[in-house]
């Protein structure tokens, strides 16, 4: 009788703590989602609904044309084209260049290897802001200000990608390499035909984070572009604010489509994202 009572109490306790756990986690998640929800509902509100002093979660009628108005109020198609062009090029080149460098560090013995590797790693400790000013002057001297070259070339190699890929290449058994070389496979062929297919998860991680980093990058684009036709989405968005002022429905529509590609990419590739971060602990 007593044992049964205790059992019940134990179960009740379990259910109760579980209930609190769920409520807490769901409330937290709702709070995290709130800014996104508010952005979405604000983006389809009529101008008079934007200036209400009490919370109105949903508009009386969804004003989808806000998106069209916002899109046409600034050259967003140009901004998008620029952002995609730059992000994809930077991503592609970084994957190629960093794989090549990582391969040399992982599989070849050469003069100055350790010194060079430390030199490369050393740049990871230096904040990008230190390089900002000399790089700006370099761009001015090269006449690259306001060109795609300025927005692409400096970002085509990242030490972080090299480091990550090297770690992954090292984890592939060295016997495989020796056997292939003995069979007369050239080293370059080995990289392309064996190493790259085996390293897909690492390459996807590198590509993904490079794409996002490029898409979201702000300060460099801000100082490197003067004409609207060269701007990317984030920089275009800051100029859009000064154009539309306090029409927050249009601003929220623009914010929505500015973050849409990355959010979609994230929802499609959640697993790679989360594993990539857990594995590398990288800070964007």
């Amino acid at each position: 009788m007593l044992a049964e009572q205790q059992m019940w109490r134990y179960r009740l306790h379990k259910v109760f703590t579980k209930g609190i756990l769920y409520v807490g986690l769901l409330a937290g998640a709702a709070l995290m989602m709130l800014p996104f929800v508010w952005m979405l509902t604000s983006s389809i509100k009529a101008p008079e609904e934007i200036t209400l002093r009490t919370i109105q979660w949903l508009p009386k009628a969804a004003q989808w044309q806000n998106y069209k108005i916002a899109w046409e109020a600034a050259p967003f198609n140009v901004y998008f084209k620029n952002s995609f062009l730059i992000a994809i090029t930077v991503m592609g080149l970084d994957v190629v260049f960093s794989s090549l460098a990582a391969y040399a560090f992982a599989k070849l013995n050469f003069f100055g290897k350790n010194f060079l590797f430390l030199l490369f790693l050393g740049t990871m400790m230096i904040p990008g802001e230190v390089m900002l000013i000399p790089n700006y002057i370099t761009m001015v001297n090269l006449g690259w200000v306001d060109t795609y070259a300025a927005l692409i070339v400096p970002w085509t190699v990242s030490v972080f990608s090299i480091f990550l890929l090297r770690q992954f290449f090292l984890s592939i058994p060295h016997e495989l390499f020796e056997a292939a070389v003995l069979d007369g496979c050239s080293r370059f062929k080995y990289l392309i035909q064996i190493m790259v297919p085996l390293s897909k998860p690492a390459l996807v991680t590198v590509a993904l984070f490079k794409f996002i980093g490029s898409w979201n990058s702000f300060l460099w684009v801000l100082i490197m572009t003067n004409t609207p036709t060269m701007r990317t989405i984030p920089v275009g968005l800051t100029y859009f604010v000064s154009d539309v002022g306090s029409y927050y429905n249009y601003l929220m529509a623009a914010s929505t489509f500015a973050m849409a590609p990355i959010l979609l990419l994230f929802l499609l590739l959640q697993k790679q994202f989360i594993q990539g971060i857990a594995r590398t602990g990288l800070k964007g």
Partner: protein, 324 residues
């Protein structure tokens, strides 16, 4: 025999070296031009009165550094950045750990919940700072409207419980979040916590998965409460992760710029209340074209960050040492 072998090895060695350098060529070119060179160049520039607007630059020695250190605006930037770091780092790590521990238990909807907490981290700082600008709006912003509602509920409850003796205990008057300099750092801390909590959670979850489950089972058999097993098992065992996240959060926090720029539309907050070190660099270099002066400021930032990097390197070395 041995000599011959070595000669062959050296021949191969130099062939390998040549091949390796070919693989490294693109990296050399890009890093050389946009990382190694500028690092050296900016030290050099920091000793000059360097302006883009004229041909000749003047050597001034340490004058830039002296001026910066005695500039009250720079001091404001340091103080603001420190306040931001002290506010943001502990809160975002604490909440990240809390959510990670809760999500690490056997519950349903783990996947969707993880996504919900993580989503803010992937969004662009510019777009999301724009959304927060709208939320912080004094009259029509979500924050003040929600707080007004909350104050109403609290007042009603208090009035009911005290039989109407206490009315209006919480007299809420909507603060002007973005215009009042006292709120600037708080605004930025809220955004940063919201944005980085999910990232910290993911790293903590990875760390928690490395703690063997049987330790908890043994503790439960011994009658330890969940509270006790958190403080006696989880917290000490997760401390290397906590330390790692602290350092990278601090380093990241010292580079605050974009959120300030967007939240205050290209100004460092009311009366410099959002002036940060990077903003100071940006303003001097690209609004005033004092390139040498700004380089010196950037180097001071580097020095501060370098201290934290060293601390982290020493600690991680020690950790590997203990592990082996």
């Amino acid at each position: 025999m041995k000599g011959g072998c070595r000669m062959m090895r050296t021949k191969k060695y130099w062939k390998d070296t040549l091949e390796a350098y070919l693989y490294l060529l693109p990296a050399f070119l890009v890093l050389g031009m946009f990382s190694f060179y500028p690092v050296v160049k900016s030290v050099y520039m920091s000793f000059f009165d360097w302006s883009l607007l004229r041909e000749n630059q003047y050597f001034v020695g340490l004058e830039n550094y002296e001026k910066i250190v005695s500039d009250p605006v720079f001091r404001t930037a340091i103080v603001n950045t420190l306040r931001y770091v002290v506010g943001y780092v502990p809160i975002s790590i604490g909440l990240g750990l809390l959510v990670a521990v809760l999500l690490n238990s056997k519950i349903r909807f783990r996947g969707p919940l993880r996504v919900a907490y993580f989503l803010p981290w992937v969004t662009s700082s510019v777009a999301i700072s724009m959304v927060w600008r709208w939320i912080y709006n004094q009259h029509y912003g979500l924050l003040n409207m929600m707080l007004t509602g909350l104050a109403g509920v609290v007042n009603a409850v208090v009035a009911f419980v005290t039989f109407g003796n206490l009315t209006n205990v919480w007299q809420f008057s909507s603060p002007n979040w973005l215009m009042d300099p006292r709120w600037t750092i708080v605004n930025l801390v809220i955004i940063a916590v919201w944005q980085s909590l999910g990232y910290n959670m993911i790293i903590f979850l990875a760390g928690l998965q490395n703690i063997p489950q049987d330790i908890y089972e043994a503790a439960e058999v011994d009658g330890a409460s969940p509270w006790q097993s958190f403080w006696k098992i989880t917290f000490p065992l997760i401390s290397p992760t906590t330390f790692f996240i602290s350092i990278i959060s601090i380093i990241g926090a010292f580079k605050l710029f974009t959120e300030v720029y967007v939240l205050y539309t290209g100004r460092p907050g009311p009366v410099n209340s959002g002036m940060t070190i990077v903003y100071y660099v940006y303003r001097n270099a690209f609004e005033r074209y004092r390139m040498g002066y700004a380089s010196a400021a950037a180097y001071i930032l580097f020095a501060i960050i370098f201290i934290f990097t060293l601390v982290q390197m020493r600690a991680s070395k020690r950790r590997i040492h203990y592990g082996s």
